[in-house]
């Protein structure tokens, strides 16, 4: 099964592969930062003093504080590294939640059809029509009252934003796959609807979901930072969050203190780029419309001078045909 999933990735070449490799490398650095945060940072994410000695305010980058400190006496390097942990946790949770909910709803909606389908399509279309940041703000407002301003609340408010995308894709592929002969064949051997959905449709309708997942990951990060920047996201005492840090740093930046803003900003930009590269790389690989498979070149055995010209012409035609 795994080799079937990885098959298309291995068969890619050129641009798609480089996009993937670069994306994985960049994202990998952030994943390492997130995993190793407690060991590679000098301070905790909300720590103002080390061994009873207060940290300086707005100290410029130095050997002691690599990225400097900010107006809240925090070590910026620590904030950036801890921020990677926050960002990746929220991204993973929100993508996972929206993926699971969107796929299940889409599968059921597309298979069952009728009024259930119409209602769900209407609701998700309505959600989709909203600007995503606005939707996230509304839900984080509602959810932070219920769950507090933590990582889970932020992830859930992003979940709502991305459910419609999975729903749409899965529902539409299910509607066409439902008519396939193998689905009728499953019914003919006595399979229940739940079995048909889980064993016959699921595996055939989720193929484009991983791509949407990675593309959404980048978007989710930007939305999370936007929420933090506007003050709706994760509360500062709950976790380090880049968007919030940038907002705090704006006034200082105008006064010429550049370091509190530039490092979280760069982190956001880099991680968005890394995730987007993975998404685009996967998209080119998995999406058959864009895919150009690498074909084995047919090497004709040489048959003397008289036929070599013909053989060469044939090879040229062959490569032309591949595209």
């Amino acid at each position: 099964m795994l080799s079937r999933l990885l098959g298309p990735i291995r068969s890619t070449t050129g641009t798609a592969r480089w996009l993937l490799v670069a994306g994985v490398a960049i994202t990998g650095v952030f994943v390492l930062m997130a995993l190793l945060a407690p060991w590679i940072t000098p301070t905790d994410f909300a720590q103002r003093s080390v061994d009873g000695v207060k940290l300086p305010k707005l100290a410029s980058p130095s050997g002691e504080h690599w990225f400097g400190t900010n107006d809240q006496f925090y070590d910026i390097f620590s904030r950036v590294v801890w921020g990677a942990r926050t960002a990746l946790t929220v991204i993973v949770l929100s993508v996972l939640f929206s993926l699971v909910i969107g796929v299940v709803l889409g599968l059921v909606s597309g298979y069952v059809g009728g009024w259930t389908d119409r209602l769900l399509v209407f609701l998700t279309d309505a959600l989709y029509a909203f600007p995503s940041l606005l939707l996230a703000i509304v839900f984080s407002f509602v959810l932070s009252n219920a769950l507090g301003g933590g990582v889970v609340a932020a992830a859930l408010s992003l979940t709502v934003v991305y459910i419609p995308q999975y729903f749409r894709v899965v529902r539409n592929t299910t509607v066409s796959a439902r008519e396939a002969t193998y689905v009728e064949a499953a019914r003919a051997i006595g399979a229940k609807d739940t079995t048909i959905m889980s064993r016959y449709l699921f595996g055939n309708v989720v193929q484009s979901v991983p791509v949407i997942g990675t593309l959404n990951a980048a978007d989710a990060l930007a939305t999370l930072a936007g929420l933090g920047f506007l003050g709706f996201g994760i509360q500062p005492n709950e976790a380090a969050e880049w968007g919030y840090d940038i907002e705090r740093a704006l006034d200082d930046a105008q006064a010429g203190v550049w370091w509190p803003a530039i490092f979280p900003g760069a982190a956001i930009a880099l991680l968005v780029i890394g995730l987007t590269l993975i998404g685009e790389g996967l998209n080119e690989t998995v999406n058959p419309a864009l895919r150009r498979r690498r074909l084995q070149e047919v090497v004709m055995p040489a048959r003397g001078l008289a036929t070599s010209g013909v053989a060469a012409a044939g090879t040229a035609d062959g490569t032309e045909g591949e595209r």
Partner: protein
């Protein structure tokens, strides 16, 4: 084609497995979304339109007909894969008769152990993301019959029985790794692994390579002998039906027009449609080349079948009682105009006016206007004079000039039911020969 085996088994087992009575399956015609939005009635397709027959235990019954005649739909209705609009599908199961048409989904799921299907397109009948072992063994799992090593063992048996040996080589493969013939063998293995009574085979060889067709048919005959299966074999290929079937039912526009023993039907076809189908088989022996009497015209729309006998507009033997109506007149006029030069067509077309109103099936058709009535009448007489043998004219009761134009009134038609005639049943006004032409089923 290999030689046909002796048909002795069928003579012994002649009790009935299925009794189908007046079965109708209508599909809702989905109009555009606009039509649905405004709740406009978009009509139905009469895919199966009043079919009655008996399926005997152990026989091979062929369903033969052109595309769209309702063969697949009838086959699916036998298995309860489509809900009939009306009628009964009585299955004589081991534990007593059941009506498939009214069984609940839960009851049907249980019956699926005994009723199985093989599909036309082997490339589409297997789940592309399920390996062969899982796919073939899934029926056993679904019905809770076997699991684990036992399941694996039975799958291997089934695969080897259908010629996919050694089974180990195929079990871990995915459908995309197999050839069309191998896929169809896997589909057969999945269908017989439960030990069913009935196998509906919907054009099982039509999408396969010529080279493997005969082998698959032979395999099916072998399975039938081993497992005591009954087959419904759906095809539009008469040659394979002749080889494979004990009896054949010829279908046209959702009805059975002739049903009987294969030999009888091939030796002396009775229904004009059967005759036309048989004449269309390519004849390998040039000395026996017969004039091809292909049915004229197109297959009519199953949503609005012709009145009277459904076949009459294309029938070379049609007579006055066959159910002539307005749409036939339109076809006649249009055919007439294809033979006229453009100027004459222009003139006559203006005279007659729009033909669209003839599209609503009716026993009376009005052409032209009050003022042009006499001229239209003359035109009709002239067309009639060009080809007086055209059977439509014999079905015309009278042509009268009225205030709205010329009215063509047709005689009442007969919609013939299936009747015994020389060992077969045929739905044609000409059969049986001795019977006088009395209306069997009026058309309203």
């Amino acid at each position: 084609m290999p030689t046909k085996p002796e048909a002795t088994a069928t003579a012994v087992a002649s009790d009935s497995l299925f009794d189908v009575e007046e079965l109708e399956v209508h599909y809702d015609l989905r109009g555009g979304s606009l039509a649905r939005l405004f709740g406009r009635d978009t009509g139905v397709v009469r895919a199966v339109d009043g079919v009655s027959f008996q399926l005997r235990r152990g026989e091979v019954l062929g369903l033969v007909g052109e595309s769209g005649s309702g063969k697949t739909t009838l086959g699916r209705a036998l298995l309860g894969l489509v809900r009939p609009t009306s009628g009964a599908v009585r299955y004589h199961a081991g534990q007593g008769p059941v009506d498939i048409a009214t069984s609940s989904n839960r009851e049907l799921r249980g019956l699926r152990r005994e009723l199985q299907m093989v599909f036309q397109d082997p490339n589409a009948a297997l789940n592309p993301s399920m390996d062969i072992e899982t796919a073939v063994g899934h029926p056993l799992k679904i019905h809770g019959i076997a699991k684990g090593a036992e399941l694996r063992h039975r799958v291997a048996d089934a695969l080897e029985r259908v010629g996919l040996a050694p089974a180990e080589r195929y079990m871990s493969k995915y459908p995309s790794d197999l050839s069309g013939g191998q896929k169809q063998r896997a589909v057969l293995a999945r269908a017989v692994i439960l030990g069913p009574e009935l196998l509906v085979a919907d054009e099982p060889i039509s999408m396969l390579d010529m080279s493997v067709r005969a082998k698959i048919l032979e395999l099916m005959l072998g399975l039938k002998a081993d497992l005591g299966l009954t087959y419904v074999y759906i095809t539009h290929d008469l040659a394979s039906a002749k080889f494979f079937c004990d009896r054949v039912a010829i279908m046209y526009l959702g009805r059975i027009v002739e049903i009987g023993p294969t030999d009888e039907i091939f030796a002396s076809p009775k229904h004009p449609y059967t005759k036309a189908l048989l004449a269309a088989i390519p004849e390998p022996d040039p000395e026996r080349m017969v004039p091809r009497d292909l049915p004229r015209g197109e297959i009519p729309d199953a949503a609005k079948p012709p009145m009277g006998c459904h076949f009459h507009p294309r029938c070379p033997e049609a007579v006055a009682q066959c159910g002539w109506e307005s749409r036939d007149l339109r076809v006649l006029l249009e055919e007439h105009w294809t033979r006229r030069d453009p100027a004459a067509y222009e003139r006559e077309g203006d005279l007659v006016g729009s033909l669209d109103k003839l599209d609503t099936p009716a026993k009376e058709a009005t052409l032209g206007t009050g003022s042009s009535a006499a001229e239209v009448h003359q035109l009709l007489d002239r067309i009639r004079g060009e080809d007086p043998s055209e059977p439509l004219w014999s079905g015309v009761e009278e042509v009268v000039e009225g205030p709205d134009g010329v009215s063509v009134r047709f005689k009442a038609g007969v919609d013939p039911a299936l009747r015994q005639s020389d060992g077969v049943e045929v739905a044609c006004i000409h059969h049986p020969v001795s019977v006088t032409l009395e209306p069997a089923r009026g058309d309203g």
